[in-house]
Every structure is written in structure tokens, then in C-alpha cells.
């Protein structure tokens, strides 16, 4: 497989075409749920994402919805992330965020840790992206939006 094909794995192309969680949903914010929204822009290329998160009183991600425009890497990454964090508690979200950042710093080598790669699931498809320094920020855009929307929801302060 060429490095280009390593970057554009089929799972990435599929997510870019049929993204999960695409289309903003009204924030719940009732029954003790916490809700937050974040808008992130990559100023060098104009990619952007608006992401909303809904957290249960117990600290579980009940839902993520988003809108955005950008390259297949940035859009697929938000999509994969959305599937990954739905139903996860905040500690797990923080762990996944850390693992994905580690993956993006791996220069194409991956994490060399089966447990970690199992946890990341489809997100390991982005290993090839980490060989291209200019594209890493594309893959991280959605994760930045998730982190910021969680902070804005107040869920991080109460957990």
C-alpha cells in the first residue's frame, strides 16, 4: 500500500462520504443534562467544525452532533470520533483524546499497544495521516471541538 493509500484508508473515505453525527441537533440541557457547543477553525485552510455535546448528570456523553466543512481527513475524523465517544464517560473520553494525540505524533508508526489500538477502533485508520505533518491538524480539528464543548458545558468542572 502506498503512503497515500495508507492515509486515505477506505474507512476514512467512507466516513467522509457518510459522516456520523452530521447535522446539528438542538441541545438537550434538560433533566440535569449539561450541553456545550464549540466552533473550531483551522485558519490556514479554512476548515471548520461546529460541534455540540450532551452529557448526562452521571458524566456520560449522551450525544454528539456537528456541522462542518473541510477535507476528507478533517470530516472523517469528526465522524469517527463521534461514533467512538458516544456512550463513553468523561474519563474514557479524556483517555481516547490522549491516545489519538499520541497516534498523531507517531509519524506513521502507530501506538504499538494492542489495548490502546482496540480502544481507538476505526480511529487507528488515521495512523497514515501522522506521516504528513501538514495534515495532522486536520485530523485533530474535531477532537479540539469536543474538548472545548465539554469544557463549555461545565461537565469537566463537575466531574
Amino acid at each position: 500500500m502506498s503512503t497515500l493509500e495508507q492515509m486515505y484508508q477506505q474507512v476514512i473515505l467512507d466516513h467522509a462520504k457518510r459522516p456520523v453525527g452530521h447535522g446539528l441537533v438542538d441541545l438537550a440541557g434538560s433533566h440535569g443534562h449539561l450541553a456545550g457547543e464549540s466552533h473550531q477553525v483551522n485558519p490556514t485552510c479554512g476548515d471548520e467544525v461546529t460541534l455540540r455535546v450532551d452529557v448526562t448528570p452521571e458524566g456520560t456523553v449522551a450525544g454528539v452532533s456537528w456541522e462542518g466543512q473541510g477535507c476528507s481527513i478533517s470530516q472523517a475524523s469528526v465522524s469517527v470520533m463521534t461514533s467512538l465517544v458516544k456512550g463513553a464517560d468523561l474519563a474514557e473520553v479524556a483517555r481516547l483524546d490522549g491516545l489519538f494525540h499520541d497516534l498523531m505524533s507517531s509519524r506513521g508508526k502507530g501506538l504499538d499497544d494492542d489495548d490502546a489500538e482496540d480502544a481507538l477502533g476505526d480511529a487507528t485508520a488515521f495512523t497514515g495521516v501522522s506521516q504528513y505533518p501538514a495534515r495532522i491538524k486536520c485530523a485533530l480539528l474535531g477532537w479540539a471541538a469536543l474538548k472545548d464543548s465539554l469544557a463549555r458545558s461545565g461537565a469537566l468542572a463537575t466531574s
Partner: protein, 444 residues
């Protein structure tokens, strides 16, 4: 100088650069020999962002540091004399290259800095600096500054900021669907209230050449000063600033085969003489007391602090290199490459943002080989990545022109651009690679 390429400007039938001439030019650029992405020959189509440098320019910088390095315009020793001479000869070379007098060329770190010097001179004059001489630069609420929707951020944001500081109002000339300036309402836009008309000579997105004569005439009719962003024109076509009749112009060294870190501000002599300084400090003064300071005449008034001497020497060398190559021939080469690039419009799903032909507003050269485009169903970044995999370097993003992209309803485009060393074969390779992009992503 190693080039042997010469094109007779009077020979209208001459092709741009012959194959032999082009081969000689390419041999002057060491970087073009390298390979990328696992041994693929480099096809560099990003010269509008920054050009590659010929060996003579690299040598000129090295030679300066090895043989002449010293502080300029001070010191009584021989090295100081030689460094000053090299620095001023470079200024003369750049001035001659763009049809200006030496005293009208101010060294700046780049074109962005150069435009900011003019904008801040207006600001300082408005605060009362520069005395009676600076009256022309004084703004009042209700005054207007006119730019165009096609501007690079470097010729837009400094004017927005100047308006915010002074209460002047920013207006702009819109862009037509074909990427050219829409001058339909020019008389309503450029009025007695207009103090500055700032515009790009050649768009770094659409490649369109602006109708300079029309715009200069409109500004003159109302007594407004013109500021020309000449970054894309100076490297690729003959530019004679006196003939164009603009009041100010800015261009960078690194886009015209010269080093980074250096550019030039052109100002008509009487205007530079009347203009208050912006960056102040050493080297730009006459008499300094604890209470106050008088300033040196231009160009030194606008060159505070230790200058980028080696880079200026490199830029002077680049100007000579282009001059010896012959800018008439370079422009024909550009025109030929533009036509080859524009054939991408025939690829299904590819849309060019900018004029497809030479149907300019009476300009002799109406578009250059700067071609931005979008591919249906594939984001510009992804287009660029697939081209890069074949060794083809293009720019992706908004090219520092977000309003122009917004005008066309796109966030990002991919852009191919040429320079003196670009070949038709490279453009053909680009077209062939581009034709395969939609299939790679399964775009329907």
C-alpha cells in the same frame, strides 16, 4: 550569470523561451534537480507562493557574507564601503528593473511590511506627525479608502486597520463571475471622498491582470493616491512603475527569484519626501537630542535599524537575472503556460476560479499562469495531497484571500502557478494527475 537565455522583445513572433533556453534556465536552479516522495521528479507549481532561486542569487548572498559583510552607511573602513556599495547597487538594480529612480525604492522585509509603512504613515500624519508637508496623508472621518474584493490580505487588512484607527470608511470594487474586477460602478466608488485606491496588479488567486490605467485615471480624477500590490506582476511580466503612474507599489524578493526577508516599497519621490516615518530608531535620523529628532530623507527615513543587506544584494541579483532573461519573453512564457493550465477546465468536475481566456479590459497581458480551481466532491487539501503523491507541488487553501473565496462560495481552492523555469511538460503532468483525482476519491 550563467544564463544564456535572451529573447528579443521586438520579435513578436518569438516563442516564449525555446526548449534550449528553458533547459539553460532550469540548470540555473539547483533545487529543481531534487526528487520528492520516493524518487519522483519535482514538478514545482507553487511559484506564486514563493519562487525557487537561481545559483547566482545564492552565490550573491554567500559572496556578500564571505567577502563584504559589514554595517552599511557607517564606518570608515574598506569593508563598510564595499558593503554599502553592494547594498546601493542592489537598490539601483531593483529600481531599474521596475522603472523607478533609486531614491524611490525603500528596502522592506517584504511586501506586507511595505504596505503597512504606507498605511501607518497615513495614521501618523493623521495624528499630526510630518508637519505641513504630510497634509496629503491626513485622514478625517468621512474620508474613504477603496480596495478590491480580490485583494490578498496584505493589501486589505492594513487598510481595514487604518480605517479603524482614523474613522475613515473602507469600500471595495467587487469581482465579476469571471474573476475580473467589476468596474461598472467605479465612478460611484471612487469619489471626492476617496483618499487611497489600493489594488493588486495581478490577483494571486485568479491570475487576472487589473486594468491599472483605468484605476489610476479614476484615482487621479479625484486626487486619491494609488497603492499597487505588485507581488505577482513584477516576477512575471514587464513592470514600469513610472509608466503605470501609480503613487506607491510593493513587491517581495522571494517571489521574484530572490531571498526571503526582503522586499521593496516604491513611492513617488515627492510623496516619500512628504511622508512621516513609521518604524523609527537608528539609521533613519539626522539630528537626535533628548527632546526631539529630525529625520533623514527617503529612502533612509523608512529604513530604521540594521538592514537585511545580504538579502537585498540577493534581490538585486535576482532583478538582474530576470532583466537579462528579458521580461517580454518571460511574460510570453507565462501566457503560454497559462493557456496550458487552463485546459484543466475541460476535465469533468474541475471548475476554474478566474478568467478562462485573455478577454481582459484592454490590457496587453490580461492573465498570468496563476490558476485556482475546485474539484467537485473533493476538498482542495485532498486534491493537493494526491498531486503531491506524484511529485506535483500546488498550493491549497484560501491563498490569503478569504473574501475572494467567499465571493465564489468556496472555502478553499487548489492553485497551480508558474515561473520562468516551469515547462509545458510539467503542466501536462499536472493535468494528467488532476484528471485522476476524482476517481481516487470515488467522486460521482
Amino acid at each position: 550569470m550563467t544564463t544564456t537565455a535572451t529573447v528579443r522583445p521586438d520579435d513578436a513572433s518569438a516563442t516564449a523561451l525555446s526548449t534550449t533556453e528553458l533547459a539553460a534556465v532550469r540548470a540555473d536552479f539547483p533545487l529543481l534537480e531534487r526528487t520528492v516522495r520516493g524518487g519522483k521528479p519535482l514538478v514545482y507549481l507553487d511559484s506564486a507562493a514563493t519562487s525557487q532561486k537561481p545559483q547566482v542569487v545564492l552565490d550573491a548572498e554567500v559572496d556578500f557574507y564571505e567577502q563584504r559583510n559589514a554595517a552599511v552607511h557607517r564606518g570608515a573602513h574598506q569593508l563598510a564601503e564595499e558593503a554599502t556599495e553592494a547594498f546601493e547597487q542592489a537598490r539601483a538594480a531593483v529600481a531599474a528593473f521596475v522603472g523607478a529612480d533609486e531614491a524611490e525604492i525603500v528596502w522592506q522585509p517584504g511586501a506586507t511590511a511595505a504596505i503597512n509603512v504606507v498605511a501607518y504613515a497615513f495614521s501618523n500624519a493623521t495624528l499630526g506627525r510630518g508637519g505641513d508637508a504630510a497634509e496629503r496623508f491626513r485622514l478625517a472621518p468621512g474620508d474613504e479608502i477603496v480596495v478590491t474584493e480580490a485583494e490578498h490580505h496584505a493589501n486589505l487588512v492594513p487598510w481595514q486597520e487604518l480605517c479603524a484607527r482614523t474613522g475613515a470608511v473602507l469600500r471595495w470594487i467587487p469581482v465579476s463571475d469571471d474573476g475580473r474586477l467589476d468596474l461598472t460602478n467605479l465612478d460611484a466608488l471612487v469619489t471626492e471622498r476617496t483618499r487611497v485606491l489600493a489594488f493588486g496588479h495581478v490577483s494571486n488567486v485568479t491570475g487576472a491582470v487589473a486594468p491599472v490605467a483605468t484605476l489610476v485615471a479614476a484615482a487621479r480624477r479625484v486626487g486619491a493616491l494609488t497603492v499597487l500590490d505588485a507581488c505577482q506582476s513584477v516576477p512575471n511580466m514587464p513592470v514600469d512603475l513610472h509608466e503605470l503612474g501609480v503613487d506607491f507599489a510593493a513587491f517581495s524578493g522571494h517571489k521574484m527569484l530572490g531571498p526571503t526577508g526582503v522586499g521593496a516599497l516604491y513611492g513617488r519621490r515627492e510623496l516619500l519626501e512628504a511622508m512621516p516615518p513609521t518604524v523609527t530608531g537608528g539609521s533613519m535620523v539626522e539630528v537626535v537630542t533628548m527632546e526631539s529628532t529630525t529625520y533623514a530623507p527617503p529612502p533612509q527615513r523608512f529604513e530604521a535599524g540594521t538592514q537585511m543587506v545580504a538579502q537585498a544584494v540577493g534581490m538585486g541579483c535576482a532583478a538582474q537575472y530576470l532583466d537579462e532573461l528579458g521580461m517580454e519573453g518571460v511574460a510570453r512564457h507565462e501566457t503560454e503556460l497559462a493557456a496550458e493550465m487552463l485546459k484543466i477546465a475541460d476535465i469533468p468536475g474541475v471548475r476554474v476560479i478566474g478568467p478562462l481566456g485573455a478577454d481582459g479590459a484592454g490590457e496587453e497581458i490580461s492573465r498570468l499562469a496563476v490558476v485556482s480551481f475546485v474539484v467537485d466532491g473533493v476538498h482542495a487539501h485532498d486534491v493537493g495531497q494526491v498531486l503531491d503523491d506524484k511529485g506535483i507541488a500546488v498550493r491549497v487553501g484560501h491563498h490569503c484571500a478569504q473574501p475572494l473565496h467567499r465571493r465564489f462560495g468556496v472555502a478553499a481552492t487548489a492553485r497551480a502557478s508558474a515561473s520562468v523555469y516551469t515547462t509545458v511538460e510539467e503542466v501536462v503532468a499536472f493535468r494528467e494527475a488532476l484528471a485522476g483525482v476524482r476517481a481516487f476519491f470515488g467522486a460521482e
